[in-house]
Symmetry: C2
Subunit: 590 residues, 2 copies
């Protein structure tokens, strides 16, 4: 191993060689600036190069940041790798895992053995169980009628399955017990199968949300439910989840009755529809949810096909706009119990923000629109095969170096690519901070005759999969400005509410697939997220699913859900008096 490493000339290669995959789309030329690392003992490497001084900011250089492709170790070197420098597929769902929650699910298995009741004893078998456990347990009715199967007249020996204060099954054998966590996204539904004794994730299954046929987005589904009732939407999601549960059970040879709990998260509309509640009040001011607190519902009442006595726990939502996905961020990061100030950003069609610490938390929802997911842009697309997901522009030629999903020929630009593109256009000077595209004579910047708009050609049609030039237009830039402006307005108003500054933020958590895949430096450059030192920024991945899993596995965290919700003040941005001024101000690029 050492020999192999010794032959390498730069730190980037060494890291790749030992299995740490670092981003570098410019081909290790010191141009794209993706491969940043922090050197703890600077004397162990060559001096900072001229190229690095061009790419890195003064603050970055002061804090020891180097581009790993230009670092040559001279002796044993000690480095810190920012999360944002890791290749996307390697990024860690940070604290959700690193917090190392204690595996203590609400579903408990308890083996008891009771000798033959004494003649003349007036106690029932059920009372013997409680006496043995020194408890006052109740028993679910569907379980009660199975008690005879567990009673043997010489000895009462059984494995009790207990949820909270209720017996929900009596098992003869040492069967394993399972749980299910469901993340009900507007677009995608993900179901995780979890071993409740080890906490291990056995398997995962996902489908497109079957409600798609009633409307692609939340608004159209709410409209459908107001016109035709919520029943169609409700049954389609329940049916979809049941189908996935069955698939997971079949594939893993698991009896559906050995699944005793399911936890579910979703945004507020998905939450109401899952519960078969018409989301009418979410669609009219003041957007009051019917119910927000966490719920425990018998699986049979919701028609969820796990053990009929099992529990379905629906995680609480925070307000009419901020759902359980945001709660997932809080559970995964522990934001709500830290002394330090943290900001959590979950960007989708709406951006949900939470800012605060254990003493006070404020949250808001920003109407970012779909631009940051690639929507509403001329060549925007979802993050699927052929989407340009990261990009670097050569300053002189304006040629683009980019990476597409699956390394296919480019078909369009997805969210993370859009952010890179804008940041690079700013860097190479073909976009000013008002959002105007600046012509410099390069053929890639041109005026489109059909719409009289300036546009920048990202890739020529010969090299694309769609037979058209892939461009970004002035109106695309405007969409992106509106989106990032909405988010930053939210951040600024929340900061004002707590009377703090950007510098007071100790942690910035980026949630969702989006947060996981964007180039953090570029997101800062375009002013989408506040300018905060890299080491304070962490991607928390799929916070919604993570929250559902944490809730399934941790009794302690479950108990905290409703407490967390109550501690958060929801700020309705549109009703803040300085909203308009803040918003207009936020449209500019930094």
């Amino acid at each position: 191993m050492e020999d192999v490493i010794e032959n390498k000339t730069n730190l980037l290669d060494i890291l790749n060689c030992i299995g740490i995959k670092i981003e570098a789309i410019c081909g290790a030329k010191g141009k794209c600036g993706k491969c940043k690392v922090i050197i703890e003992n600077p004397n162990a490497a060559n001096q900072i190069t001229f190229q690095e001084k061009k790419i890195l900011s003064k603050e970055e250089i002061d804090s020891g940041i180097r581009l790993s492709c230009l670092v040559r170790p001279l002796e044993d070197i000690s480095i810190i790798i920012p999360d944002s420098s890791l290749q996307k597929e390697q990024r860690i769902l940070c604290e959700g895992i690193s917090r190392k929650i204690d595996i203590e699910p609400l579903i408990k298995k308890n083996k008891i053995k009771i000798s033959k009741p004494m003649l003349g004893g007036e106690d029932s078998f059920f009372n013997y169980i409680n006496k043995e456990l020194k408890s006052e347990l109740k028993i679910d009715y569907n379980t009660l009628i199975k008690m005879n199967d567990a009673i043997n007249y010489e000895v009462l020996e059984t494995n009790l399955i207990i949820f909270k204060d209720e017996i929900i099954d009596l098992l003869k054998d040492e069967d394993k017990i399972y749980g299910i966590s469901v993340d009900i996204g507007t677009t995608t539904v993900v179901v995780y199968l979890i071993d409740l004794e080890t906490g291990a994730q056995i398997d995962v299954e996902s489908i497109l949300n079957p409600q798609m046929k009633y409307g692609e987005d939340v608004i159209s589904r709410i409209t459908y439910s107001l016109e035709k009732g919520v029943s169609d939407l409700h049954h389609s999601i329940i049916g979809g989840i049941n189908l996935m549960i069955k698939k997971l059970c079949d594939r893993n040879h698991i009896d559906i009755n050995s699944i005793y709990e399911m936890t579910a998260v979703g945004n507020t509309a998905m939450h109401h529809i899952f519960l078969n509640i018409i989301p009418k009040s979410l669609s009219v001011s003041p957007f009051t949810p019917v119910i927000s607190k966490g719920l425990d519902i018998k699986a049979r009442d919701l028609n969820i096909k796990i053990n009929s006595s099992g529990n379905v726990h629906v995680l609480p939502i925070i307000s009419g706009f901020v759902g359980a996905d945001t709660l997932g961020v809080l559970l995964a990061t522990g934001l709500y119990k830290k002394d330090e100030i943290s900001l959590a950003i979950d960007i989708g069609t709406n951006g949900e923000l939470v800012l605060g610490n254990k003493d006070k938390m404020v949250s808001c929802s920003c109407a970012a629109g779909p631009a940051l997911e690639g929507g509403h842009l001329n060549f925007g697309m979802r993050a699927s095969s052929g989407a340009i997901e990261s990009i670097f522009i050569e300053k002189n030629s304006l040629d683009s170096f980019y990476k597409t999903i699956n390394n296919s020929s480019p078909r369009g630009i997805c969210g993370s690519g859009v952010i890179d593109l804008v940041a690079e256009m700013l860097r190479v000077g073909i976009l000013d901070n008002s959002g105007k595209i600046i012509e410099n004579g390069n053929e890639r910047i041109r005026k489109n005759i059909s719409n009289n708009q300036k546009e920048f050609v990202v890739e020529w049609k010969q090299k694309t999969d769609i037979g058209k030039d892939i461009v970004v237009t002035a109106s695309d830039i405007r969409e992106i400005q509106l989106a990032k402006g909405a988010i930053m307005t939210g951040v600024n108003i929340l900061l004002e509410k707590l009377d703090i500054k950007v510098n007071d933020i100790d942690n910035l958590y980026l949630a969702g697939a989006f947060g996981n895949y964007i180039d953090v430096n570029n997101a800062i450059k375009i002013g989408l997220i506040p300018d905060i030192p890299l080491e304070k920024i962490k991607s928390v991945g799929n916070a919604a699913g993570e929250g559902a899993k944490i809730s399934l596995l941790s009794r302690k965290m479950r108990c905290e859900e409703d407490i967390i919700i109550k501690k958060i003040d929801y700020i309705e941005l549109a009703s803040e008096k300085n909203f308009n001024a803040e918003f207009i101000n936020s449209l500019k690029f930094p």
Copy 2:
């Protein structure tokens, strides 16, 4: 009125005239001894007659008891009428009513009115309800999905229906709310419809237990359930109850959804079968019930057709043999909280006894057999039309004066008639205390050639409805001895357990239709119940149904149910070392 009264010659007539119906089957001849009253100011009436001295015991005379048919008031007279002297249809279900329970059902109705939620408020409608009530209520899932119907966007105005800590309905209007109490007897099922706000009984409906087709008695139904499963029996009782609920609702123009709770009592086998639990463990030693504690089950889970979010409360049973009917006696009488010693006797096929006070209670079940219900006797019959229910034998002629149910021609003898008959045979000297029928030359006492048994002719065939002499035989007497011996053995063993004597008993409660209809004096004479002064003996009527109604209407009593159960020691008579000796000793008539 006074004029009318002044024309009457005796107290019996006066009492009947003012509406107090006193028993007197000998035609006011001072012979049957049924019309006893206690005169508080003896000087206000004529002196005790010779006839009364023949009929009354020395103790009765000493305590001021007279036969009202032979009392002529001389001035204003103050009397006490023993419960046992009232005509059967008038007998009061004493303390169940006289305790005057507070009407405070577990189902509560709570009107709330909440103004339009403020814009920017992060609370859900559900939270507004809890804030308004300063509570932490939960909501039933089936109710949650109806919440939208109750939400008006200007004001949230609704009548909440609450059970324990859970909202189970939201009513727009001031609809009335109802409850149901069910007494599941082996033979008869009675359903009471109760107004939950006033506590008034609206209506009552009864049917023969539809399980009859699977077996007439408890043992045959248990056998059926062991062979073919409990499902048939369970569904037939649930179906029967649902049918009666529907009938009651139709007849009283009540929406089935306005019934929010049902309370149910039954003996232990009826209890298990109602719950769909195979009563196997009740049929084998040590006769341990599967569950004894009180249960609350969602109506929809039990398929009881009241409001689907409503509660079905199944009262606890005391042991494998002592059911919720006996608990009814305790609830109705308050035995369990008195300082005085009380004995409760509930006689059916089994006799259940409870003896004790607030400090200690012991209970047992006595295998009395069906003789005291008219079963297993040559001319025994259930208490239906044509049954001789009370009887008086003229000492010289041995002619019988009797009363039949509905005053029909006699068809047989029911329980209360059997007790009278034996007591009268003892009194007139044609039965000795060993149970031997004594011939005295009267043609009514004869030897039956076909079975070589002595028998007494109660009525000649010419006067019966069945064209046969109605007789009581030596073997009938034996059956009655076994039955009353079983009861008295139980009483004696319980007395020994508490180390007290008959004289220490301050109250004797007789439960059940049987306890309500027997001639208490005669029951004492034949040694069926202990010899206790009449004023200490009270009929508590249908204790099972009474218990179910009390449980429905009184939150306080409901809470005490499981506590009462735990305070009772169950004595398994057959395993007591002095059982055999006691039993043989108890066979003799006093």
